[in-house]
Symmetry: C2
Subunit: 409 residues, 2 copies
C-alpha cells in the first residue's frame, strides 16, 4: 500500500492569514498531521465577515483537514503545553509579527529540547537588514518590492495585483524550505531554523522587468500594461474582442507565422520588418493594431479555438465568477465544495501532485478546539484530570460549536 | 563541518524560461549539482536581447551556479546520452510544451531504468482536464485564472501583474514538490513523477477575492484597485503623498486607534461609526479621504517613519530602479553583481534560508556547453574518443565562448 509523502510528520501550525496557513495546507495535503494552534478567539478567518457576518470562506479554503488545538499562549500553562508539544513535533510553522515568536518561546530553546525539530519562520523582511522589525503585509510588500510600480498601464497609477501573490509566494517558498530541511534531516538527523521573507520571495518574479530596464538603460516605461514586462516580446498583449478580451503572445517566429496564417494576413509572413522578434518589438504598436483589428470582429471563444489549433499561447480573460465554474479548475479539483451534517464548506486542492502520494480522503474544517483533548491525550499522554485543570484555568480550550466563537475584528 | 541540504543530489535541469529554471536555481543554492541541459542554440536567454542585442541579464539571474551541458536531443545519440545520464541522476526538471517531454523520452521508461529518479514536470494546465494540451505562458494563465480580472482599477481594463508571478509561483511549487518527493524517497527508496500546473499554483492566491465574492454575493467590483481584494479591510489602500504614494492598512482595531493618534485625529478614536473593522468597511470612502488628506501634505519617507513607530503596516511605493538599490534587498543578498576575468553578471539570492545549509561560495554563469566534456567523463565515464565522436556528430556540443552562440529569436 502506498503511504503519503509526509505520513508520520507532525506539524504545529501557528500560521496567521495566508503565508503560514498555506504552508501548513500543502503539508496536510501530502499526508502530514497538521495541528492548527489557535488563540481563544480563533484565527481571524473564524471571525464574522465584514458584510454577512458569517465565518469567512477563507477559513475552509486554507484549513480544512487540519486538526484544531486551542491554546492561550498568553498564559504560562498554555506556553508550557506548547513547548511540551514542540518537543514531540517535527515542524513548527509561525508567521507572527517580527520578534513575537521569540518573545513567546526561544527558537534555540526549542531546538535544544528537540534536536530533530524544524522551526519555519515566515516574515515580511526576514531576520536581517534595516527593515527586519517593520510590520509588513501583502499590500506593503507589493508597494516596496516593485510589484505595484510595474503593475498597471503606463499612463495610470501603480496598482497592486488582485490576488495576494506575495503572501502565497511566501507560503509556497516556506513549504519548500521546510521540505529541504526534512531532506537534510534525513542525512544529519538534525532539524534547524529556516526562514523565508515575503520581500525575498517575490523579488525574483521581476526578472523580465529587470531585463527590460537593463536592456533599455531605463528607457522603457516602468509599467507596460498588458505588454511584456521588459517590452521584449511582440506580439504580446491582451486584445479586445467582440465580447471581451483575449491574451495572445508569439514567443517564437513560428508562432508569428502561424498567427499570420490564422488571421489570413499572408502578406505579413514575408514582411522583413516583422520576421524576427527583435524586429517585431520595434513595430509593437503596428502589430498590436493589426492583431486587435482581427480580434475585435470575433468572439473570444471563436478566437481561442483558432489560436489553440495553431498552438499559439492564448486564453480569454475570465472573470472570477466564470473561473470558479471553469471546467479545468473542476477537473483539477482545485476548488471543491463539501458538506456534512454540520455545515458546508469550500476548500482548495493542492497544486503539488505527487504520483505516489495519495491526498487525504476527506478534508473537514475543524471546529475551534475540536481536537484539544484528543491531542493532549495522544501527544502528551495527559490524564483527564490534568486536561480538566488546564481547561478550567483557560490555558487550553476544548471543542466549541461553530458560530459561538469570535468577535468582529 | 556543515554540508548543504542538497549536497550529493544531481539534477538534470531541462527548464525553459522561468518555471523550470527557478526550480533548478533553488536546488542549486541549497547545494545540489544542477546540470542545465541546453540545446545547440542555447537557452532563450543566451540569445541577443531585443534592444541591445547582448545576452539577457535573466540568464545569469536564473542560471549562475549551474553547470552547462549542451545536447542535441533531436539526435538519437543525443537522446541516448540524456537517458544514460538520467539513469545516474536524482531529479529531472522539465517544463516543455504539453507532451513534448514524453515524445522525447518516456517518463515510465526513465523511472523503470532508475527507480530512485524524481521526474518533475511543470506545465500550464497539468496532465489532466480539458485544457491539458493547450499552450500556456505566464500571460495567458493570468488571463484565464482570474489574475487579470481582479487586477486594476474598477473603472479600467483588466491588467496583468508587472512581475511574472505565475511562472515563479509555479517554479516555487515545483521545487516544493521535488523536495516532498525526496522526503518520500527517504522512506520508500523510490522516486516518482511529480507535476505542478501554473493554473493550479496561482489559484489559491485568490482567497481574499473569493471571500469578497461570497461575502457580498457578487456585489463588490471584481477589480478593487489598491483596496483589499475582498473589500473586507479598511483602511487598506495606497495613498498619494507629497512626493509619491504610500501603502497603509489597519488590520486590527489597535492599528486604527494608533493611526488616529499619529494623524492627530483624536476625534475619530471614539467615533462609533469607525470602532470595528466591519463598521470601518462601511465607511471606506470616508476613511480613504481622511487618510489621504493627511498623507498628501507629507513626504513618503516622513510618513513611513511615523507609521513604523506606531507598528502600522505601511511602505512607500518604490520604483524598480530605486528597489534595485534598496538597502534591505542588498542586506538580504537577493540581487548581486559579480565579475571575473571573462565577464560581469547579476544573480538572484535564494529566498530559502536554512540556518544549517551554507549557500555555494560562488555562482558563476556557465558558457554554453562549458561542462559537457567534464560531465560525460564524470557521470558516464565515457573515454575521450567516444566524447570526440559524439561532438563530431553534433549529438553533444562542447565549450563555446560567450557571444559566439545564439541567433535572434
Amino acid at each position: 500500500m502506498t503511504i503519503s509523502a509526509l505520513s508520520g510528520i507532525t506539524v504545529l501550525d501557528l500560521g496567521q492569514a495566508f503565508m503560514g496557513p498555506y504552508c501548513g495546507l500543502l503539508m496536510q495535503r501530502l499526508g502530514a498531521d497538521v495541528i492548527k494552534i489557535e488563540p481563544p478567539q480563533g484565527e481571524p478567518y473564524r471571525r464574522p465577515t465584514a458584510i454577512k457576518g458569517v465565518e469567512a470562506v477563507q477559513f475552509g479554503l486554507l484549513n480544512a483537514g487540519k486538526r484544531s488545538l486551542c491554546i492561550d499562549l498568553k498564559t504560562d500553562e498554555g506556553r508550557t503545553v506548547f513547548t511540551d508539544l514542540a518537543a514531540t513535533a517535527d515542524v513548527i510553522i509561525q508567521n507572527f509579527a517580527p520578534g513575537a515568536f521569540d518573545r513567546l518561546v526561544g527558537v534555540d530553546d526549542l531546538l535544544a529540547a528537540n534536536p530533530r525539530l524544524i522551526v519555519a519562520s515566515g516574515s515580511g523582511y526576514g531576520s536581517t537588514g534595516p527593515r527586519r522589525d517593520a510590520r509588513a503585509m501583502d499590500l506593503t510588500i507589493q508597494a516596496l518590492a516593485g510589484v505595484m510600480a510595474t503593475t498597471g498601464f503606463p499612463d495610470s497609477a501603480p496598482v497592486r495585483t488582485g490576488p495576494a501573490v506575495v503572501d502565497f509566494m511566501g507560503g509556497a517558498h516556506l513549504f519548500g524550505a521546510v521540505m529541504a530541511a526534512l531532506v537534510q534531516r534525513g542525512t544529519t538527523g538534525r532539524g534547524q531554523h529556516v526562514e523565508v521573507a515575503l520581500f525575498d520571495a517575490i523579488f525574483p518574479s521581476l526578472a523580465s522587468n529587470i531585463g527590460g530596464l537593463f536592456d533599455s538603460d531605463g528607457e522603457i516605461p516602468e509599467r507596460t500594461g498588458n505588454r511584456h514586462g521588459g517590452l521584449g516580446v511582440a506580439p504580446y498583449n491582451v486584445y479586445k474582442t467582440a465580447d471581451g478580451w483575449i491574451a495572445v503572445l508569439c514567443l517564437h517566429d513560428r508562432h508569428w507565422a502561424e498567427l499570420c496564417r490564422i488571421m489570413e494576413r499572408h502578406d505579413l509572413v514575408d514582411d522583413k520588418r516583422l520576421s524576427t522578434n527583435a524586429s517585431r518589438v520595434k513595430h509593437m504598436e503596428l502589430l498590436d493594431r493589426i492583431v486587435e483589428e482581427w480580434t475585435l470582429e470575433r468572439n473570444s471563444a471563436e478566437l481561442e479555438v483558432a489560436l489553440n489549433e495553431g498552438a499559439i499561447p492564448s486564453a480569454p480573460v475570465q472573470s472570477l465568477e466564470v473561473l470558479l465554474k471553469d471546467p479545468q479548475l473542476k477537473a483539477r479539483g482545485m476548488f471543491e465544495q463539501h458538506r456534512n451534517a454540520d455545515r458546508e464548506w469550500w476548500t482548495f486542492g493542492s497544486p503539488l501532485r505527487l504520483a505516489d502520494s495519495p491526498p487525504p480522503a476527506e478534508n473537514v474544517p475543524a471546529r475551534l478546539g475540536q481536537h484539544t483533548v484528543e491531542i493532549l491525550r495522544q501527544k502528551l499522554m495527559l490524564p483527564p484530570e490534568r486536561i480538566s485543570e488546564l481547561t478550567a484555568t483557560g490555558a487550553v480550550i476544548g471543542d466549541l460549536p461553530v458560530g459561538t466563537v469570535g468577535v468582529r475584528v
